[in-house]
Symmetry: D2
Subunit: 425 residues, 4 copies
Amino acid sequence: MEIFEKVESQVRSYCRTWPTVFTTAKGSEITDENGKTYLDFFAGAGTLNYGHNNPEIKGKLLEYLAEDNVIHTLDMHSTAKADFLKTFKEVILEPRGMDYKMMFPGPAGNNAVEAALKLARKVTGRETIVSFTNGFHGMTLGALAVTGNSMKRGGAGVPLNNVATMPFDKYMDGQTPDFLWLKTLLEDPGSGLDKPAAVIVETVQGEGGINVASAEWLRGLQELCREHEMLLIIDDIQMGCGRTGSFFSFEEAGIKPDIITLSKSLSGIGMPLAVTLCRPELDVFEPGEHNGTFRGFAPAFITATAALDAYWRDNTFAKSITAHASWLDEQLHKIIDDFPELKLSTRGRGLARGLVFDNPDLAGETTTELFERGLLMETAGAEDEVVKFLPPLTTTIDEFEKGLGILREALSAVSTKHVKVLAKV
Amino acid sequence: MEIFEKVESQVRSYCRTWPTVFTTAKGSEITDENGKTYLDFFAGAGTLNYGHNNPEIKGKLLEYLAEDNVIHTLDMHSTAKADFLKTFKEVILEPRGMDYKMMFPGPAGNNAVEAALKLARKVTGRETIVSFTNGFHGMTLGALAVTGNSMKRGGAGVPLNNVATMPFDKYMDGQTPDFLWLKTLLEDPGSGLDKPAAVIVETVQGEGGINVASAEWLRGLQELCREHEMLLIIDDIQMGCGRTGSFFSFEEAGIKPDIITLSKSLSGIGMPLAVTLCRPELDVFEPGEHNGTFRGFAPAFITATAALDAYWRDNTFAKSITAHASWLDEQLHKIIDDFPELKLSTRGRGLARGLVFDNPDLAGETTTELFERGLLMETAGAEDEVVKFLPPLTTTIDEFEKGLGILREALSAVSTKHVKVLAKV
Amino acid sequence: MEIFEKVESQVRSYCRTWPTVFTTAKGSEITDENGKTYLDFFAGAGTLNYGHNNPEIKGKLLEYLAEDNVIHTLDMHSTAKADFLKTFKEVILEPRGMDYKMMFPGPAGNNAVEAALKLARKVTGRETIVSFTNGFHGMTLGALAVTGNSMKRGGAGVPLNNVATMPFDKYMDGQTPDFLWLKTLLEDPGSGLDKPAAVIVETVQGEGGINVASAEWLRGLQELCREHEMLLIIDDIQMGCGRTGSFFSFEEAGIKPDIITLSKSLSGIGMPLAVTLCRPELDVFEPGEHNGTFRGFAPAFITATAALDAYWRDNTFAKSITAHASWLDEQLHKIIDDFPELKLSTRGRGLARGLVFDNPDLAGETTTELFERGLLMETAGAEDEVVKFLPPLTTTIDEFEKGLGILREALSAVSTKHVKVLAKV
Amino acid sequence: MEIFEKVESQVRSYCRTWPTVFTTAKGSEITDENGKTYLDFFAGAGTLNYGHNNPEIKGKLLEYLAEDNVIHTLDMHSTAKADFLKTFKEVILEPRGMDYKMMFPGPAGNNAVEAALKLARKVTGRETIVSFTNGFHGMTLGALAVTGNSMKRGGAGVPLNNVATMPFDKYMDGQTPDFLWLKTLLEDPGSGLDKPAAVIVETVQGEGGINVASAEWLRGLQELCREHEMLLIIDDIQMGCGRTGSFFSFEEAGIKPDIITLSKSLSGIGMPLAVTLCRPELDVFEPGEHNGTFRGFAPAFITATAALDAYWRDNTFAKSITAHASWLDEQLHKIIDDFPELKLSTRGRGLARGLVFDNPDLAGETTTELFERGLLMETAGAEDEVVKFLPPLTTTIDEFEKGLGILREALSAVSTKHVKVLAKV
């Protein structure tokens, strides 16, 4: 591991939580150079919804690479892209009655967000974007401005502007009516809020701590957007591609966003790929007005197509996610009941779940215990008080049971340690 | 091609210049769905320095993918990353006496630029970045602010600030001494230029029209940076990885930048990969202060390592680039002489070359003729007056000769058409 | 009036509400060129707290101008300024236990605000200023950014940034606890609110519609500022100099702002004068770091000193304001009761009072009727729903009774008209 | 003077150069509390073009104040304002064929600049303003952004944006053709300069060091503005009202600016007054879209009218300025010749003149010697290397001779001291 210390920048982060060197991975498991295998309930922060090295997807990739098919094409036409567009239209858009246009803004999720913000500003001729507390949208300057985390914002080195932050669902005291603040500002010409171009929101805030926006809240937001002619951007980078049970995370709410961003699990196997979808009348960029070198990475089109073919042609996969999610929720409630001293609670949608600790320190201790016992899970939330489940959606009940067993052990260890500490006091 | 029209955003651009659907590619050739093969002297805008589907590099990739090696790891440690760091240190950094730290800022070149700008601002506590006329650094909000192209800037939808633009080498009339303007501003406390955090520059501006900064100019810029405590950022995304003859494009000038960005050909085969290098004392980001989902795409580490192993362990490759560049320059001068009516000139360094047309319209006509005859080349420059050579560095003399033959035919066709037009007048 | 139409910009505004040409004025009365005299309950938007052409103050002015005393001195020392500083220290600062430093930032209130914001940013090294809904602080770019009015903000022509707007006291539904939103944002590192340099607030929002911050709210705000190391700026330009009963409008709340701005009635007679006061440890500007040509207008120092001498050496004046305010409040409640059909209410502090109309249109009609009957009053508030009392503080009960008589007539007229309209429906 | 130290902010500046307390002043003389009289060749930084306590102007003021004429009227119509508008139209606009509209943006010069910038941005819908090296336009955030001085810019505490700085006439090496840089940027779509809304410029930079723009340069600038549809704003706050010989400083160049700012000597006697003039088709602000409390300070209208009546109804005054300027220039050349060891030179237009020292330290020493000998002059320029003449335009030849006598004495003293210093070396 010396080479990392010597050459890699100290900005590296996850490797500090899980200090080992990983080599191979398959499905929900990942193995380090010492041969120790871990259950991975983190899945590349939601990038590996179909598991590591998913065989169906990788099969198509190897097939594609075996021949001298084009790998890199910028935004030239390629058969790989044509297939992806056709499949996405057929499998995702048409069945949902969506006639969106797809833009390839670059390989990273932040590229999709930047393109969405630029497009919204261009279409409306306005500058302000409404974002939400604890939102996370990326680290490039435009995306960072709509991100809540103060440490990450501080890295910008310049003021982050043209943004107004509003309270996410259930952010305040639970008493304040939804949108009271935003609505009042929009309706009051003396409020100081310049008419916004758009609203950008995650339906479930992953980095922010598995904060769930209710379907009602999302519908209310859409209504407010329409009333005040603001575009509604759903950032579905982490919560899309099945994470909450349906392909898009907003389907349950029955809303129709103006702009949608997708990335992470879109390529199915961890290949960098991102898209920005918009309603056709918003497709107003000039040719080349936004671009990026890696916006035509053909192998990612292949694996993305393979993922759609394998998992989204019927609703079997969606149903299994929902079933697993419901089962997991039940198990977590049992665990919560079995560890009353830790004052746990849970929240989430689909297979994005949080185990919330009353005492944030114990959440961190728990992930350390989990790592030692062979389970990768991360903390999230403003105070890192949430232990986050983002397992591959293909995780089996057996694997879940194994993981929950490890979780119980870790919680016991933390509880025991905690009791001792309390005893001292 | 209907599917592109129906589903893909109209922002797509290169596919308008080359209206066909590409399927396979190998070395310097690319083939469309009709079986027509084109010489590719564009190479993914400099991303395919080692050619399409380079066999040595792809061999390593297939080998890696054949086993269930990890594909996606965020910034966890992986053997793939360790090998890349070791190889980069051994093959690139150490022989050049460079003790830089490497940061993985995300998969796109713009991610590397954004990280570089953030780092420079954090280190210095200042906001202003000096950029240069016709510079190109990417489409995310921070990178776009230091990019010159007005159409692309217009896409931002918000003012692009915290930047001061300065004249690139030979930008003005050729009479003005280098840095007269920048130097005067820096030395005059009444100039209105707030003390800059850094300077960001390309040694050869690719998108800007193959504008070459002389070694002397680059050394002068470095001196000015040191004198005024500004960091020097070399954006080597397009011109690095051998494009100008050496691995870094600034080696010839003998300068030592504070921060370097690399991407495009770094992965060797078109996989999204980008890095930001900085002098060790500038490595001041907190863990996670900058991040990005695809910053640990292991297959790209594998191919990047393979490319370094195959091409940079000795100077054979570098020498061949220089030799080919010199030969190409000679050939272009012959062509210039043979078409005096087109008033052509050439400029460039290494295998980044421009054929400059006095009449910009004729440059565009030429690339159309080239496409029809089976050669892919793009225009560049403020008025699209330059036909740009960015061929794979592995292009053989035979291929070059074939390409130049096509170029002569195209120029003849343009000249003939042009003569008729003139005759009418 | 033709000359105004021909030469003066159409930006002129009050002259449209009161379309006549004024010539002379004395105390609470102003006379136009037709010899018609109006009661003036607007007092130059709070600039003429001591009445038009206050004889004591004007006496000192004429005395000063009769000799060749210096008129214009930039920030050179003058006896006029020395006298003002001494008197302000003796009459205002010392009795209140305030050891503030005084800065002369230019003649306009906006100059005082701009200096306050610059100072707060310099002291803290932070950029964000917290402002409040419906706040009004001026039209220069820095002051406009903290002003709520959307029409005026639109005039900037550039995004107004580095500001976060928060709800003023009683802004929302009356259910939300004070500072719930601001406090939550400040305490949550994921909130997206960058740590503010300062808070700027009016104790009573004049332009915003006579919105009163309670003493408790102001104390809560001060506490929040101290807890989060934000400077507290009270903009007392309109509400200071006795308007609410005490010299500073915040005295009743018992708070100690870090920075205070004063202007409008400070010079006592309408001469342009503004000051920025700060706690001595905040006096960190370099000599000349902020300046302005008219920051040493000696006649204004003379009249300002005269006003302090005449009205603030004992508490007689303050008591009379409070007594009149209390009497006026009583009278307004009678009027409200007598015109139930207009659904009126009242709010205010001291002699800053609003008569609030349920139907904003009727407020505008009322001021028109008032003008015709010889009483100048203006509307305010987000929807211009408030008829605003800002009479000279020297207005006698007789004058008030006369004015209220006119008000009753106007309300009757409006009511009658209103009844007819209703009858039609 | 203790009271200043105790109560006034340390931001005070001129009082440090001239550490005494001034009491009375008349014409070109000012007297301190010790009865010492100084010649004043600074004239309130160009605010007292008609001298201190000008009797004709003050006569009208006293007359106006003797009756109870309105003093403060916001933007209500007043006879005082009507008279000023009529007189300005008759005496200034009509004879020059100018049909400009006049806006009263507030009492300070910075208010006039802020209104000009807002108007230009509103009219064009663009954000960028082109300003010039060493320009000075005021301390409010909008005006400060177009001001060059780095110390003053630093006081902003936020990045100053939406501005591009260009070289003023003769700024660089004297070899570079006029506008080479600006013109090239404007014509190059890849230059990074976003199309500007306007250009703001002083014809002679007073604070910047008496830098003179030639008539040819100004005409070139106007041409460039027209060609690129940028508005031309002449900031004539310091150089207008006769300072350079004609009422507007740009008359000699024969240009017709789109927007003009005036302040300082406009009121004739040091009363705060500022106006923004614009071509009638640019008068697009909504009523009240820009405003300010002291925009209708009637006594200033009275004195401004009196000044126009007394000095600008015929060309006697203008001729005398030119004659005095020419004589002064001659005298300064004699002085330059008589003190070769000081390496002096001179520049300026009309009665804005600079005596430029090769060694900036000696300029500062000279003003100290002048003060001791009873002559007030200030240094200016990026390195404070210029001793600046901004005397009242009513200064007599006798007074000039007296002043120049003192100047010679001071230069001798400096020279002697300087010789000794040199001797030591």
